[in-house]
């Protein structure tokens, strides 16, 4: 017999089977079965596949020890796996080498590292940093701390009513005073993907380095730091289906080499004496103390997982969910979507007339639908759109159209409940 089987390119049901948590129900109560979990909050943090959980368990059970320190067998084994994860991250971003990859605890720590080390060394009073109005607080507050310390100025690129970055305004803000551009690559509220390559080119024409906050962008598309020509690129592991406690700073090596340490401690020094201490070369220079060894190894496996599914295939699947959900939600009277930029990521922020997002969040949760409500750590952006808070549904590689339907149904129930 000769049957031709064509496998679908993206089998979401098979993908879902990899995520143990997705089969649970929520809000079980005496005598009443729970609701199936509809997890639409992956932009806050993504769930973890079995492969990541197992790899971490296996490492802890079989290979665990501290790294870079021991001559013994386990230390060598653990170090090898940790460094292998660094190579995986480098491949994931198409970095020239694993030397460009610094592990941090989070995206937040990565931005703080650059603000502290690069910022305090190379910026001084009167210098300017350009950010956008849609930054996450993680890419605002570290620069404000630098502002307090150094008297620098923060200039803000606006967005239009769709959430598209105003490149003309950006051009106008770039000046001889500009010493750094720190810009999101994808907004965690609007989903807007910024034109990173153009942003970098415009800055480089003036000799200004650019940092991209890729916390969202790296999850939903293929990122090539060399093609973008990013000077710094930042990711956070827990949104990439990896564990918490892992962040990534990619930096061009000649920049990293010029930068002083961020924190002092073990692992980052060449030699220590009370007369003077010499520091290791990057990335070790920026990795003081024992890192999140198990978690970094887990992150490497998470990136493998994404590569195996295919990042283009993931992006296409998520794009379908975005389009479908946007279309379905838009049919609800009084529902407004914030962020309608072309080519946006799978993130839908919305409000429902007459209903506060907080109430909406509580009610859809009773239907098993997990969405984020509030200001999403992006208060300036909320101000820009004159809205106190929004609800946000975000889609990941494991979501389905049926889940989008569940969201829509629960929002309709909210509307009926409030007679809105």
């Amino acid at each position: 017999m000769d049957t031709q089987i064509t496998l679908p390119t993206f089998d979401v049901e098979r993908v879902r089977a990899d995520f143990p948590i997705l089969s649970r129900t929520v809000h079980e109560r005496k005598g009443k079965p729970g609701k199936p979990l509809v997890y639409l909050d992956s932009a806050a943090s993504a769930q973890k596949p079995r492969q990541v959980i197992d790899a971490m368990t296996r490492f802890l059970e079989e290979d665990y020890s501290n790294i870079h320190r021991g001559v013994h067998f386990l230390s060598q084994t653990a170090t090898d796996q940790f460094e292998e994860a660094r190579r995986k991250v480098a491949r994931f971003l198409n970095a020239p080498s694993e030397r460009n990859i610094v592990f941090t605890r989070s995206a937040t720590e990565a931005v703080n590292l650059v603000a502290h080390s690069y910022g305090r060394t190379f910026l001084s009073e009167g210098d300017e940093i350009i950010v956008s109005v849609m930054e996450h607080h993680a890419n605002i507050v570290p620069w404000q701390l630098l502002q307090m310390d150094k008297g620098i100025r923060i200039r803000v690129v606006p967005v239009d009513e769709h959430g598209v970055l105003d490149l003309n305004a950006y051009e106008d803000l770039l000046s001889d005073r500009t010493k750094l551009v720190a810009m999101t690559h994808c907004s965690n509220v609007l989903g807007t993907v910024t034109p990173a390559k153009i942003i970098a080119r415009m800055a480089h024409e003036r000799g200004v380095p650019v940092l991209f906050d890729g916390s969202q962008a790296a999850v939903h598309g293929v990122v090539d730091v060399q093609d973008i020509d990013a000077d710094f690129y930042i990711m956070t592991g827990h949104k990439l289906y990896g564990p918490t406690g892992t962040g990534v700073l990619y930096g061009k090596y000649d920049l990293l080499k010029k930068m002083p340490p961020y924190q002092g401690g073990g692992d980052m020094i060449e030699s220590v004496s009370f007369e003077g201490t010499t520091f290791k070369a990057p990335p070790a220079r920026f990795e003081a103390g024992t890192p999140a060894i198990t978690e970094v190894i887990g992150l490497g496996v998470a990136l493998d997982y994404m590569e195996k599914l295919g990042r283009e295939a993931i992006a296409a699947h998520e794009h379908d969910l975005l389009q479908y959900s946007t279309q379905q939600l838009s049919q609800i009277d009084g529902l407004r979507v914030y962020g309608t930029a072309p080519g946006k990521g799978p993130i839908i922020s919305f409000t429902l007339e007459g209903v506060h997002p907080h109430d909406l969040g509580t009610i859809v949760d009773q239907y098993g639908v997990a969405v984020r409500v509030g200001r999403h750590c992006a208060e300036p952006l909320m101000e820009r759109f004159g809205v106190g808070a929004t609800a946000r549904a975000s889609f990941a590689l494991y979501n389905t159209r049926a889940e989008a339907d569940a969201l829509v149904e629960s929002v309709i129930a909210v509307k009926e409940f409030f007679g809105a």
């Binding site: 209903v355 506060h356 997002p357 907080h358 109430d359 009610i363 009773q366 509030g374 106190g388 808070a389």
Partner: protein, 155 residues
């Protein structure tokens, strides 16, 4: 609709949420304090007119969810005419109502039992721990205003 939701969003709450009472800024207010929930962006100003230790007028403005708005609105109704001590006792007792099981409620001095009876509709938040702050937001601001602070300390 699930029972728990009906319990949380009782008709009275929906009504106060939509048509808040004393939603204004009295000209003769002599105390005011801000209450803010950084998580969801809810923000209220509570205004008091205190005279000889009595709350002669109380009102509020701002934006918030149905729970926080209803609670603020109901608060203005029950606090008006109370002494400072009575208002504070109501605050403490209401706080217990929202956060603790019945048998753990403390004794905060004599309270207006009728007022507490009315506020019972808000006790549904106990089943929704993340919403407790909504129910108590304006109350914290009111308490701060009595204490002469200009904003409620975030817990």
């Amino acid at each position: 609709m699930m029972d728990e939701l009906r319990e949380l969003y009782q008709e009275v709450i929906l009504d106060h949420g939509k048509n808040p009472r004393n939603f204004r800024h009295p000209d003769d207010a002599n105390r005011e304090a801000k209450g803010e929930n950084p998580m969801c962006g809810d923000r209220f100003m509570v205004y008091l007119k205190l005279k000889d230790g009595v709350v002669e007028d109380v009102a509020f403005q701002g934006r918030g969810c149905a729970i926080s708005t209803a609670s603020a609105s109901m608060m203005t109704e029950v606090i008006k005419g109370k002494t400072e001590a009575e208002a504070k006792a109501l605050f403490e007792t209401f706080h217990d109502l929202c956060t603790k099981d019945d048998h753990d409620h403390g004794d905060h001095g004599p309270v207006d039992e009728d007022a507490m009876e009315r506020l019972m509709v808000l006790s549904g938040v106990r089943q929704f721990p993340v919403r407790v702050k909504c129910a108590t937001l304006a109350w914290h601001a009111m308490n701060a205003a009595i204490e002469g602070e200009d904003k409620a300390s975030s817990e």
